[in-house]
């Protein structure tokens, strides 16, 4: 059980700044996820906590003890953390038991104790009957569990997971997700988890740090991040969202690209804005706020994925699966809006587009 305090950590490789003034405090028993697109700096942050990279500036404390910063640097082997690598890094020349026992044998733990600990942790990851197998006789999921067991066997204060599920197939990934969460709850340890998969992050985390281009965009619980994104990037990264440029005035937002149609708005912003609306927050209704023509609809079973032309804009609407029974393509429809996020039109959206293309 450990707390991790990170103070203004910056990391640069030459001129390339991959992480800028990262500050955070992870509490005891918390499940923290560092989330972001690839190359955002999340893995670098994790490797700095582990001690594989040195911060260019800033400090990292584990349990109140300074481990990186100033002239102090505690090497990885002295930090008492567990880590699971993306490639599992299970040693092919040792069998499962030796792999898992390794951290304890390094600490010169008595043989009998090692045996007990390894057996216990193998049963936690459901690998008890595989102790004598070699890694090349195991499936990817099993190797992954060996890596997890090895990270847990020395009862670390802190467990670091670097995209541990990204090499597994979809089904296995889903079940491992809950297993890891269960283990974390049972042992009550502090976990720092790195992923680019937002669903994974949403499902497991107590708190998410959403990082983009080396800068933390938002930090909060999954609900906070999903429902009240701090900016356009966060809104876009989590779930599906479409942006519409408009003008906020007199309790409405007017969209020039929709032929001047408008949506009521009670928020405090005025002037040019980006309105972000998730497709599932549109709905078909008799007395909607927007009118347009239903252009296409794709029936996906549980939902009906539609495109509605409003003025010059094509609006994506994810409606429930019954809609296709009543609506036909080419028909005039009215759309209501359940929820909407409004950001100032500060050019961030254009920046994001530029990067993603």
């Amino acid at each position: 059980m450990a707390t991790v305090t990170i103070q203004k950590v910056t990391k640069a490789f030459g001129d390339n700044v991959v992480l800028r003034e990262f500050s955070a405090a992870f509490q005891d028993g918390e499940f923290i996820t560092l989330l972001g697109p690839s190359g955002c700096g999340k893995t670098t942050m994790l490797r700095m906590i582990a001690g594989f990279e040195k911060p260019t500036s800033g400090e990292i404390h584990i349990d109140g003890q300074l481990v990186s910063g100033g002239r102090t640097f505690v090497p990885p082997e002295k930090r008492g953390v567990g880590m699971v690598f993306q490639s599992y890094a299970v040693w092919p020349h040792m069998d499962v038991f030796d792999n898992v026992a390794y951290p304890l044998s390094i600490r010169h733990t008595p043989k009998s104790e090692i045996k007990a600990s390894v057996e216990k942790v193998l049963s936690i990851v459901h690998l008890s009957q595989y102790a004598e197998r070699f890694p090349n006789q195991l499936s990817g999921g099993q190797q992954q569990r060996v890596a997890l067991a090895r990270a847990l066997v020395a009862e670390p204060k802190l467990l670091l997971l670097d995209e541990p599920l990204s090499n597994l197939d979809a089904k296995l990934r889903e079940s491992m997700r809950f297993e890891i969460k269960e283990i974390q709850k049972k042992l009550g340890i502090n976990v720092v988890y790195v992923t680019h998969d937002q669903t994974e992050a949403m499902a497991m985390s107590d708190r998410i740090f959403l990082i983009n281009r080396g800068v933390v965009q938002q930090c909060g619980t999954p609900q906070e991040i999903y429902n009240s994104p701090a900016n356009q990037f966060v809104a876009d990264f989590l779930g599906k969202v479409d942006f519409f440029k408009g003008e906020a005035q007199n309790g409405r937002i007017i969209f020039p690209a929709m032929g001047g149609q408008s949506i009521p708005y009670s928020g405090g912003r005025r002037g040019r804005v980006d309105a972000a609306i998730r497709p599932e927050n549109f709905y078909f209704t008799e007395d909607g706020v927007l009118t347009g023509t239903l252009e296409t609809q794709y029936y996906l079973g549980d939902v009906d994925d539609c495109r509605v032309r409003v003025g010059d804009t094509l609006v994506r609407v994810i409606a429930n699966g019954y809609v296709h029974r009543t609506l036909r393509e080419g028909q005039q429809v009215c759309l209501g809006v359940r929820d909407m996020m409004v950001f100032p039109d500060d050019g961030l959206l254009e920046q994001m587009l530029e990067i993603s293309t």
């Binding site: 090497p75 082997e77 490639s87 599992y88 890094a89 020349h93």
Partner: protein, 829 residues
């Protein structure tokens, strides 16, 4: 549909028929070759070229008869003709009398057996044939005098000659007067007839050559009679002279043809497709080449070692065993190779780790430096260490004496010892292990080490518990590579070992070869020992490497965190730096400095000891330039042919599932693992005509030897490049409408071009400075730069050879630079 199937069966039948015909054609040629050989064995001719000479001389005789002899006789009266015929028959009987003792028909019997109307012609033709080799001597001056006559003069000259023959009181014409001067009776007649023949015969060089060939190959008298008869009667046909004159070659060609037809049939039967695929032809060609020039020599040597005189005997082995020098050589070879392997690996692993995994200062620089040593000819290093560690005048020894306040006695170090040789071998072969280990280390997932660190192990502990065990297969195969290379090295032992009487198997082999037939047998015994050892080690290495296939899921390509050496960083950097200075800088500097000296024993800075004349002299000599030209030519041809084979093989290995594609691959691998001297010795023993191919003392034999030894270097490079190009890249080109050729040209070619260029240089560079094989295969016109240097070093002056060595070094570095530029830095040695 029906028709296609029919056509296919029909064409399948045609192919089967063709293969059958080819097979029997091959068998037929073999049988003819065997017959020719048998005929030859019975004939008493001492060389098969007799048949060719006889055939050519028969044609010459016929044309001389038609154009000159017969018209000349036509001018005589009937009775004169009759008398001339009688004289000729008498002369024939006379000269055959001497020869006939060996047996055979008499001239009289031969002539009386002939038809009436043919008798005269036969008599003159027989005499002509006889006098070609066994007649009275006509000096070259006289021949020239006769040849100088004009057509009309010659005609009257010949008419006068014949008159003289018929009338012994007649005056001989001017050109023959001196020749016939003192002679009387039959001797005079013989001489005049001979002069007649000479003035009728053509003076073409070809004819003289054939006459000489005939003289050489029919020393036996009975055989001589046979030869004359065969010339006169045309008993050797065009086909016969080919078959009997090239019996071995015919057997070889027939065997290759029949073998290929058989192999092709087997391949097609296995594939169930009776279609002639171009790929098969290519495979067959490569296989034929390798079987002939690689496998045949090796097998022949194996046979020769245990069946020296045709029956099983361990005589060769016993002789080798009882001769203490040979036992020493074997002992020295094993000791030196083992020690070099141990020391080389002990050096290579820490160096590879320091350079690859830690924050050692200048790690990239050091890496490049250590890898570069790989391309330095080993004999250059040997020369440098000789200069440094000579017990009396070695530079390093003199410093050590000064530093340690030793007396002026020789020492303290002596390069002319086994340990001296081990040191030089180690310092030149550790890069082999270094490169093998470094490559494997780069491929290893760094997370494996990081997982150990985060589990609580220190960097050093991680090296021993994770890195070393993971590297073990590469470590072992690198070590074995050092062993085999050190064991088969000739350059270093020949320069260091020979003066110090430290013999090795390779130096013994080269010495034995120069000792004639007995020596060749002994050399074979030694070579077989070397070969068997190399093959066993190659096999071991393969077994070890096969286990390397650890499954490692590749993670994202994170730059591995470098181990921080902390307070050890500077001391370790200094240590590695010192090693580089000792192993690379000092030897090269020695070579360079020595090349400017007049007196080798003095410092280059000593007064009046600096000169550029060594460089000027060496590179001004015609022999140097010739050998340089030879080296460049041979190496370019080798590299170009080699890379063509390499590309073909890569395509076959990577892009087809054709049967039998592994066979040439196996042979090529075997060839590169065979010690150089063994390859060369095998070629010497099989390519001097006894198997129908005679390329002894030519450039071909050297190029073939280089190809066998270095082909694999090029092939591996191209194969690995092609394996990295996913086949979908080619498929998407084909789906875009490009044919096979265009796809190769536009997609695959450009993508693997850097590797092709690299492969070319990888074959070129070692062929360029090769010494071990050249030392056995060179002839006076095919000396190479490496061998020329060796000769200068042994027989001329050390400063001059140092100039040349440094020149070679510069060329190799230049080539490396070109390679680097050409492949945009992707490849360099």
């Amino acid at each position: 549909m029906q028709t296609t199937i029919q056509t296919r069966t029909r064409s399948a039948a045609a192919v089967k028929l063709m293969l059958l015909i080819l097979f029997f054609l091959g068998i037929g040629i073999i049988l003819n070759g065997v017959r020719g050989q048998r005929e030859y064995a019975k004939s008493g001719f001492s060389s098969e070229s007799a048949y060719r000479a006889i055939y050519r001389l028969h044609r010459e005789t016929e044309s001389v008869w038609e154009q000159k002899l017969s018209p000349d006789l036509g001018k005589l009266t009937e009775s004169e003709r009759q008398r001339l015929g009688d004289i000729a028959a008498a002369l024939l009987a006379d000269s055959w009398e001497d020869l006939k003792k060996g047996g055979g028909e008499t001239a009289g019997a031969l002539l009386s057996g002939a038809a009436e109307d043919e008798r005269e012609a036969l008599t003159h033709k027989l005499l002509y044939a006889t006098f070609l080799t066994a007649g009275p001597k006509v000096s070259t001056a006289n021949r020239k005098q006769i040849a100088a006559l004009t057509e009309a003069e010659a005609e009257s000259f010949r008419a006068a000659l014949l008159r003289c023959v018929l009338d012994d009181r007649a005056e001989a014409p001017a050109a023959a007067a001196k020749l016939a001067g003192e002679l009387t009776g039959a001797e005079r007649e013989a001489m005049l007839m001979q002069v007649w023949f000479v003035s009728c015969g053509s003076m073409e060089a070809g004819v003289t050559e054939q006459v000489n060939a005939l003289k050489k190959s029919v020393r036996d008298k009975a055989a001589q009679l046979d030869a004359f008869r065969m010339i006169a009667r045309g008993e050797v046909s065009a086909v016969q002279q080919l078959v009997a004159g090239h019996g071995r070659t015919a057997i070889l060609i027939g065997a290759v043809l029949a073998f290929n037809a058989l192999l092709l049939a087997l391949l097609m039967a296995g594939d169930q497709t009776w279609r002639v695929d171009l790929k098969w032809i290519v495979i067959l060609l490569i296989v034929d080449f390798l079987l002939l020039f690689q496998l045949l020599p090796l097998l022949y040597m194996l046979v020769k070692a245990f069946f020296p005189e045709g029956s099983f005997s361990l005589e060769t082995m016993r002789r080798l065993h009882t001769y203490p020098l040979n036992l020493d050589a074997v002992k020295n070879t094993l000791l030196a190779a083992t020690a070099s392997m141990v020391f080389g690996t002990l050096l290579a692993f820490p160096l590879a780790w320091l350079v690859g995994r830690t924050d050692l200062c200048g790690r990239r620089f050091f890496r490049g430096l250590f890898v570069m040593t790989y391309m330095v000819p080993p004999y250059v290093g040997a020369m440098a260490w000789l200069r440094l560690l000579n017990p009396n005048v070695g530079t390093m020894n003199r410093w050590l004496r000064l530093l340690l306040h030793l007396s002026d006695a020789p020492g303290p170090l002596n390069v002319y010892t086994l340990s001296g040789m081990v040191w030089v071998l180690t310092s030149f072969y550790y890069p082999y292990a270094f490169i093998t280990i470094s490559r494997a280390m780069e491929k290893m997932d760094p997370s494996l080490e990081e997982a150990s660190r985060v589990s609580g192990a220190s960097p050093l502990k991680t090296v021993f518990t994770v890195t070393l065990p993971m590297m073990l297969p590469s470590l072992i195969s690198g070590a074995l590579l050092v062993f085999v290379s050190a064991m088969s090295c000739y350059g270093i032992p020949s320069i260091i070992g020979s003066p110090g009487r430290v013999h090795t198997v390779t130096t013994r082999i080269v010495e034995y070869v120069s000792l004639g037939q007995q020596g060749l047998n002994d050399a074979t015994g030694m070579a077989v020992f070397l070969m068997v050892l190399a093959v066993v080690i190659l096999f071991l290495s393969d077994v070890v490497l096969a286990k390397r296939q650890y499954i490692t899921v590749s993670g994202k390509s994170v730059q591995p965190a470098l181990v921080e050496l902390g307070r050890w960083r500077i001391p370790l950097t200094v240590l590695v730096g010192l090693f580089a200075v000792l192993v690379i800088l000092i030897p090269f500097a020695t070579i360079l400095l020595t090349s400017f000296k007049i007196d080798v024993g003095k410092s280059v800075l000593a007064p009046a000891n600096f000169t550029l004349s060594n460089w000027r002299t060496v590179f001004g000599r015609v022999e140097t330039l010739n050998s340089l030209k030879n080296s460049l030519l041979f190496a370019s041809v080798t590299a170009t042919v080699g890379i063509a084979i390499a590309c073909t093989m890569s395509y076959l290995l990577q892009r087809t599932r054709i049967r039998g594609r592994k066979l040439p691959d196996f042979l090529i691998t075997l060839g590169s693992g065979t010690p150089s001297v063994v390859i060369a010795l095998g070629l010497i023993m099989t390519m001097k005509g006894n198997f129908g191919i005679n390329i002894y003392n030519t450039a071909y034999i050297m190029i073939i030897a280089y190809l066998i030894k270095y082909l694999m270097m090029g092939m591996r490079t191209v194969v690995s490049a092609m394996s990295q190009i996913h086949v979908s890249l080619e498929e998407s080109s084909q789906i875009s409408g490009a044919g096979w050729g265009r796809t190769m040209l536009r997609i695959t070619g450009p993508l693997i071009f850097p590797s092709i260029a690299a492969g070319w240089f990888l074959i070129f560079i070692p062929s360029f400075y090769e010494l071990s094989m050249t030392a056995l295969l060179y002839s006076s016109t095919t000396k190479t730069i490496g061998f020329q240097l060796y000769e200068y070093w042994t027989f001329t002056s050390q400063p001059m050879s140092c100039a040349m060595a440094f020149g070679i070094l510069l060329i190799v570095m230049l080539l490396n630079l070109i390679l680097n530029r050409l492949t945009k830095g992707e490849f360099s040695i």
